[in-house]
């Protein structure tokens, strides 16, 4: 080690004073030569001969000096700096080439870096909590009923907490919105409903005040709240005396005990949390705490140090078995599933992001092939220069090093511009990113991403630099020196390499275009699919009722009746209804049901259907057709016999070959489960989960018979959205001035937003495919133009010998098409493999979709032909006299 440092120090010192050391060594060699000559003379040689023999004995003086210089200096840095300087000069001399190469590379690097920054933030970056590897999510699962993962109930959670020895702490989280009043207009605040250990599990400290203590979670404890820094600085006006004072949530005062820093996010919650309250204080979830059968609590915990997830799973298995035997009614068949928190949060976004990363990687590969092609072309025209260098004693490795230095400079330039593009790209991406993408707030070009970009450009320049450098250095000096311009004499190897690269570009572009084409077709099918209702001109708004003031179902019904009557009385708003939930926009509620008088279901069969509680006008407003029987009417009130409407799919699936009307189903949403309801009609199917999912069985109940503590208004009106919104606000506040109206939106827009992830990936993949197409076209253009310019002579002779111009055109186009077809031949199977990889993202198109394949193949052929046509035309117009003189 010490020796190594000494060497480096010595090298650096001599590197800094090269002239002096050079002179010293020259003197030394001189002295050596004199001594050798003296000796030779002593042996009886003539002085002239003695000097010659001495030189031979010593070896080539120039070479010795060169070796000496290399040994004693810092040769790598030295030659690199020298090469880099030379490279800059060469690049400046060819601004066209440089611009194209650098820009191509910058686009590739920029796109890759931007996508990687998303992948890194979402998939790779550790969660922003201490020791994130210890954090685990816990779910309940029931394989018999086909429930892969769901929440648990509070009593179960308490058992888990008390009985386990593997977690240092367990906590729960739920999320909804509460109404904040007393500070200007009533507003909805994003509320995390947690057990007191929430913050302790995540190991976070408050900005001010304290986190929850276990006592805060006890029944009868005074209501306390922790607010976010943003809420404190915003709505609360950065009040310095906020700790200890109270804010009004759902008309109840909560004492503020702490402020969480703005950077803190609770896990699983994509919206910015504004307040945290103990579960026991929550108006909605708090009332569910005693029931063991529910599945609504999201549980997570921190493993004790040294405990593996498998050990924890084993322990939880034992606990869930105990619970199943102790409380069979609620827990039979239910197991506990542990998942690392990071994996759970990322969810199924993973594949889509990896596909995008792969796609953008292909774009970079095409860009590299393109630049390699440009470099090959240039290396050919520089073969004379290289031959001269070789003749002057440069070794093969030295030539390769020089050419690689040039590409390294190119790579560096491309990388720097690419990073600048990436900064811009990330900003552009952020506006495109779907709202429901987890961990979006972490996306930025940070150091890790920068290192990725630099490494990527280094790898890229090695890839596109090595091929031409290897070719160039294998040069046959003799022939290159003899050929005057070094233009016409291109080795077959190199031409083959270039054609290979161009064909490879076509193949890679094919893969991207097919993937993009399939996604595009899927997306257009997805957005044109009929959801089963007519969203046009429908505005949707949500009104939630504070639980403490509106605690009884009768109050909920009274409120909604009054609201609906008020709104329908407005001109232009007659066409209004109430529903919970609105399909797709609000998600779905799935409930089990029993058919009265039907044989008991087998263990594999599950009888569940999606559920909606709607006012009678709903079907008319939404345009859902009645297929048989009757719709709900104003007589279907709470005191009337319970009724239900079922969807077409439900009728077909559960009542094949019979008339379901008049039969009874029993089901219900809390607080009235298991009520028998008579089927009075069949309505059309609705896609309520998402646009991409085929409609499942669905059952409706009158809102008056199954009210809720809040509901959506759906208003079909030709008035503008803002006019409708203002009218709704006015009417709501006429009834209760403290009620906020939230989540207002046009139904078509909301449906659009529901496919934002699909749109995002389709758009990006389309963009990458377009880049690939342009790059591949440039590649073809480059190869064919170069080939034409090399063959100018030959073409001149052909024309002079009587070849028609059309024949020349055909000849060049044939060359183009040959390249293209070779590319397609390889590209099609590759594209099929790729399209099967993204098969699960497709909607309504098969991965082997022949239409897409044919369209892509013909587009590529057309674009390639066009790219080849420009040089072909030039070839056609060659003047034989000029061409024959052309060297």
């Amino acid at each position: 080690m010490l020796t190594w440092i000494r060497t480096l120090a010595s090298r650096t010192r001599t590197w800094l004073s090269p002239r002096e050391v050079d002179r010293d060594f020259a003197n030394e060699l001189d002295s050596h030569l004199y001594m050798l000559t003296d000796e030779n003379i002593r042996r009886g040689m003539q002085p002239e001969e003695a000097r010659r023999a001495a030189r031979i004995k010593l070896g080539g003086v120039t070479q010795l000096k060169e070796t000496n210089r290399e040994l004693r200096g810092l040769p790598f840095i030295e030659t690199f700096l020298q090469d880099a300087r030379y490279a800059f000069r060469m690049l400046r001399k060819n601004p066209g080439f440089t611009a194209v190469a650098v820009l191509t590379l910058a686009l590739g690097i920029g796109a890759n870096t931007a996508i990687f920054s998303v992948v890194y933030a979402v998939l790779l970056k550790p969660l922003p909590y201490a020791n994130p590897n210890q954090l685990v999510s816990a779910f309940q699962a029931n394989t018999q009923e086909g429930v892969p993962e769901t929440g648990t109930s509070y009593p179960n959670f308490e058992e888990w907490r008390a009985q386990n020895h593997v977690f240092s702490e367990l906590a729960t989280i739920d999320f909804h919105q509460l109404t904040l009043t007393g500070l200007g207009d009533p507003s909805e605040v994003n509320t995390c409903v947690v057990t007191p250990e929430h913050f302790a599990v995540l190991d976070v400290k408050p900005l001010q005040g304290r986190i929850f203590f276990p006592e805060d979670g006890k029944r009868g404890a005074p209501p306390v709240v922790i607010v976010s820094e943003n809420l404190w600085r915003g709505t609360l006006g950065a009040d310095p005396k906020i700790l200890g004072s109270s804010i009004i949530l759902d008309k109840r005062p909560f004492t503020v005990i702490g402020i969480m820093p703005a950077s803190f996010r609770s896990p699983f919650i994509n919206s910015k949390p504004e307040v945290w309250i103990p579960l026991v204080q929550d108006p909605l979830f708090g009332s569910w705490m005693a029931r063991r059968g529910g599945h609504w609590l999201a549980v997570f915990g921190r493993l004790k140090p040294g405990v593996s997830i498998a050990q924890a799973q084993a322990e939880m298995d034992a606990i869930s078995e105990r619970l199943a035997s102790e409380f069979p009614a609620e827990n039979k068949g239910w197991t506990v599933r542990l998942v690392p928190m990071q994996k759970e949060i990322v969810g199924d976004v993973r594949t889509a992001l990896l596909v995008l990363l792969g796609a953008v990687g292909l774009v970079l590969l095409i860009a590299c092939a393109n630049i390699a092609n440009l470099l090959l072309t240039r290396a050919t025209s520089r073969s004379k220069e290289i031959a001269v260098r070789t003749a002057l004693g440069a070794g093969r490795s030295r030539i390769i090093r020089q050419l690689l230095s040039e590409t390294a400079v190119l790579g560096l330039l491309g990388g720097v511009i690419g990073i600048a593009l990436a900064y811009w790209g990330v900003r552009a991406l952020s506006s495109l990113l779907p709202d429901n993408l987890p961990r979006v707030n972490a996306i930025r070009v940070d150091n890790f991403v920068l290192i990725f970009a630099l490494v990527l450009s280094a790898i890229a320049s090695a890839v596109f630099g090595l091929v031409p450098a290897l070719f160039a250095s294998k040069l046959d000096i003799q022939s290159s020196l003899r050929e005057g311009s070094g233009r016409s004499g291109e080795s077959g190897n190199r031409r083959r390499a270039r054609s290979f690269l161009a064909a490879a570009e076509i193949a890679l572009a094919m893969v991207l275009l097919v993937a993009a084409g399939l996604l595009l077709r899927s997306f257009s099918k997805l957005t044109s699919v009929s959801p089963g209702f007519e969203p046009q001109h429908i505005v949707k708004a949500e009104v939630s009722l504070p639980q403490f003031q509106y605690s009884k179902p009768q109050q909920w019904t009274a409120f909604s009746d009054e609201l609906l009557a008020h709104i329908q009385a407005q001109p232009g708003l007659q066409n209004s209804a109430i529903a919970i939930p609105v399909p797709i926009v609000d998600g779905f509620i799935n409930l089990g049901f029993e058919i009265e008088g039907a044989p008991p279901k087998s263990s594999t069969e599950s009888r569940t259907a999606d559920y909606a509680s709607v006012s009678p006008e709903y079907f008319h407003v939404m345009g859902i057709p009645l297929l048989s029987g009757r719709l709900f009417n104003q007589q279907d009130i709470a005191t009337a016999p319970p009724v239900t409407l079922i969807s077409k799919t439900m009728a077909q699936r559960y009542f094949p070959n019979q008339d379901p009307i008049g039969k009874r189903l029993s089901f219900g949403f809390p607080p009235n489960p298991g009520i028998p309801r008579e089927i009075v009609g069949i309505v059309g199917d609705v896609r309520d989960t998402s646009l991409g999912d085929a409609p499942g069985p669905m059952m409706y109940v009158p809102y008056a018979q199954a009210p809720f503590w809040g509901a959506d208004l759906v208003v079909k009106s030709t008035l503008g959205t803002s006019a409708v919104t203002v009218a709704i606000r006015q009417e709501v506040q006429k009834i209760d001035k403290d009620l906020p109206v939230t989540d207002v939106g046009k139904l078509p827009d909301l449906l659009d937003a529901s496919v934002s992830q699909q749109r995002f990936r389709t758009l990006l993949l389309g963009l990458f495919a377009a880049m690939a197409l342009i790059l591949a076209a440039t590649g073809i253009f480059g190869v064919i133009s170069y080939s034409v310019s090399c063959r100018t002579n030959e073409i001149g002779i052909r024309v002079a010998l009587g070849a028609s111009r059309a024949a020349i055109l055909r000849m060049i186009l044939r060359e183009t098409l040959l390249l293209t077809f070779a590319g397609l031949l390889v590209g099609i199977p590759c594209a099929l493999v790729a399209s099967h990889l993204i098969g699960h993202m497709l909607f309504g198109v098969s991965a082997n979709d022949p239409v897409t394949l044919a369209a892509v193949a013909s587009t590529l052929t057309a674009v390639a032909t066009l790219a080849g046509f420009i040089p072909a035309r030039r070839a056609m117009l060659v003047d034989p006299m000029v061409a024959l003189r052309h060297e």
Partner: protein
Amino acid sequence: MSADKSDILQGTLDLMVLKTLDAMGPLHGYGIARRIEQISEEALQINQGTIYASLVRLMQKRWISGAWGISDNNRKAKFYSITKAGRKQLNAEAENWERISAVIGRVLRLADRG
């Protein structure tokens, strides 16, 4: 000097130079080259210039030091001598040295005698 030869010789040549300087005291490049040639009985067919690479390497490791002086026949020449660190290195490598090729073994024995 071909590349292969230098690869093979580099390490051994360095040690031969060190040993020569250890045995003979301060010497110039020509003297070292002559000495190695004589002792190896022309078994080593090297260009004399080759030892300069060795000398640079050894200088960089501070195993030898160099200074200009006047040779026997009144020529200005750069004289190299082994340093303390060089001697330590030489002793450490001695055991290793025994194991390498027969030629070097012979050089060693002859150098000791001389």
